[in-house]
């Protein structure tokens, strides 16, 4: 009986820790709601946008998203592994190999947006160096969240790219990108980040501005699962299991609830391809996208011609 009691006690302790963290997260969100109320009172022209399933003033979304990612920054990879059973690593590998960075006679300048932890940037540099023998291609990692950037910077110090200066981290809003000059980028990548931006069309606009003619825009993002029975199964998994995993692993269920909800709210592959085309890009291939794992994720590619 004493032996049985120990694991139960441990589980309860973890549960309590989760509850405490949730309370703190809730408190933070409460503060945000108070602020938003105040903001709404003072500015009657405020527009609403969605934050997961909630509607919030447009100017508040950025702040709320920042909090979400600050909250999960340190446990980001562990949580991603748990949620996708490691498949997100395969998706990212496919994403980078499709782009084939470094396959060029001149050194490439690549911008990875919303890639603070460096997952995509390091894969790009590995591919360019090992697969294409290119030791001059450089990657700029831009992220709006300094906590994610600091994780990425710390990780980069363990790679050969830090000393050679081939990777750079800058704090940037994807909708503004004021530190990146016009027509200066060969390849623009954004993985699991565009759905968190308040104005997706503005992000696409900026992507178009910074790319050189012939430059490639590529986006890895969650999409709609097909066929229907599988979609329902995935939905149940998303809304019931993932927040629970968030509680257990990262001690933060509210942030992961937001992540699941934002996936649900993001447009489907065809609609998003149209948005990319409307921004001025020519879609790659016939449709402009390639689905992965029954549509859980999709790679969208466009070229600035």
């Amino acid at each position: 009986m004493s032996r049985l009691r120990a694991p139960v006690a441990k589980f309860l302790a973890d549960g309590l820790k989760g509850i405490r963290s949730t309370a703190l997260a809730g408190s933070r969100l409460s503060n945000c709601r108070y602020t938003s109320t105040s903001s709404k009172d003072t500015d009657t022209s405020s527009h609403m946008t969605h934050f997961g399933f909630k509607d919030v003033p447009e100017d508040e979304k950025e702040h709320l998203v920042k909090n979400v990612f600050s909250s999960v920054a340190k446990k980001y990879d562990e949580m991603n592994d748990a949620m996708s059973l490691g498949i997100h690593r395969l998706w990212k590998n496919i994403f980078v190999s499709r782009l084939n960075p470094g396959n060029s006679t001149v050194p490439m300048k690549i911008l990875d947006v919303a890639g603070g932890t460096g997952d995509i940037a390091f894969r790009i540099l590995n591919h360019a160096t090992n697969h294409n023998g290119d030791r001059n291609t450089r990657v700029i990692v831009a992220d709006i969240n300094p906590d994610m950037l600091s994780v990425g910077l710390r990780r980069s110090k363990k790679t050969p790219y830090y000393d050679s200066g081939r990777v750079e981290f800058i704090e940037q809003n994807a909708e503004i990108l004021d530190k990146i000059p016009d027509n200066s980028i060969d390849m623009y990548t954004i993985a699991f980040g565009i759905r968190n931006c308040t104005h997706i069309p503005k992000v696409l606009e900026q992507a178009y501005r910074v790319l050189k003619p012939g430059g490639v825009f590529s986006c890895l993002e969650f999409s709609k699962v097909y066929p229907a029975p599988l979609a329902e199964l995935y939905r149940q998994y998303s809304f019931k299991i993932l927040p629970l995993l968030g509680t257990i692993i990262a001690g933060d269920s509210q942030s992961y609830e937001y992540l699941v909800e934002s996936i649900e709210r993001f447009p489907d592959a065809k609609t998003f391809a149209k948005m990319i085309e409307d921004a001025g890009f020519t879609l790659a291939g016939e449709t402009g996208y390639e689905t992965l794992s029954f549509g859980i994720a999709a790679i969208h590619t466009g070229i600035k011609l």
Binding site: R98, S104, T105, D186, M187, P213, T282, A284, L305
Partner: protein, 250 residues
Amino acid sequence: MLTLRSACQLTTKNLGLHKCISKTVISALGRRGYHSENYETSKISGKKALILENALEHVPQLGFTEDAIVQGGQALGYSNLSKALFPSGPMDLISYFFLKQRYALSSLKPHLTTIPETSGRVVQLIWSRLQGNRDIVQHLPQMIAICTYPSNLRKSLSSLAELSDEILYLAQDKSADFQWYTKRAAISAIYSASELFMSRDTSPNFEATYNFVQHRIQHAKALNDLRNDVLEWGSFQLNAVRSILRSRGI
């Protein structure tokens, strides 16, 4: 049925393709409902088409390769065009080439009105299409090889079906029964065989290819006549049997 079986045999014999591919040809043909006079809106348009257009200028020298596409892009000022734009690479270029050649057949309409027989018009259309291969004849084996990759097969068979559809439409074939399918299958087979023949033809102005096309069309026509004769004979026999049975009071 004889014509259909014969078409399969033609395909198998002359192209060396496995029979299952013959079945794929026919099922691909069968999937199409009707031929529309209005061309489908092209999936390749704008600057993409421009790049492929420029790339085709380099095909006589470079063949259907990634290099030709890169050269096509450079002509428009894109120093380092990404492979992402044309994921299928050479097959995208070949598809565009097929599309362009098929559209060009329309210019033959005035000439076709002077030919009384449908089969004569079909010969001219196939010959005209083969003339489009004149400048790239040394790359035909490569093109055919790329078309038969498993990942490209669906696209190339679809193009072939559209071509035979176009040829019969321009030849003003009036079939509205099952014959329509057998004729399209036969034309697909004949065109494929002729194209393969052309890739090895060294005669002046490809005269041997022209004779090959004529011979194949006449052969297919004879088979079709035979089919009609057999059907007529069957019908006669059926009537005879019915008469005998009726005369016995049954």
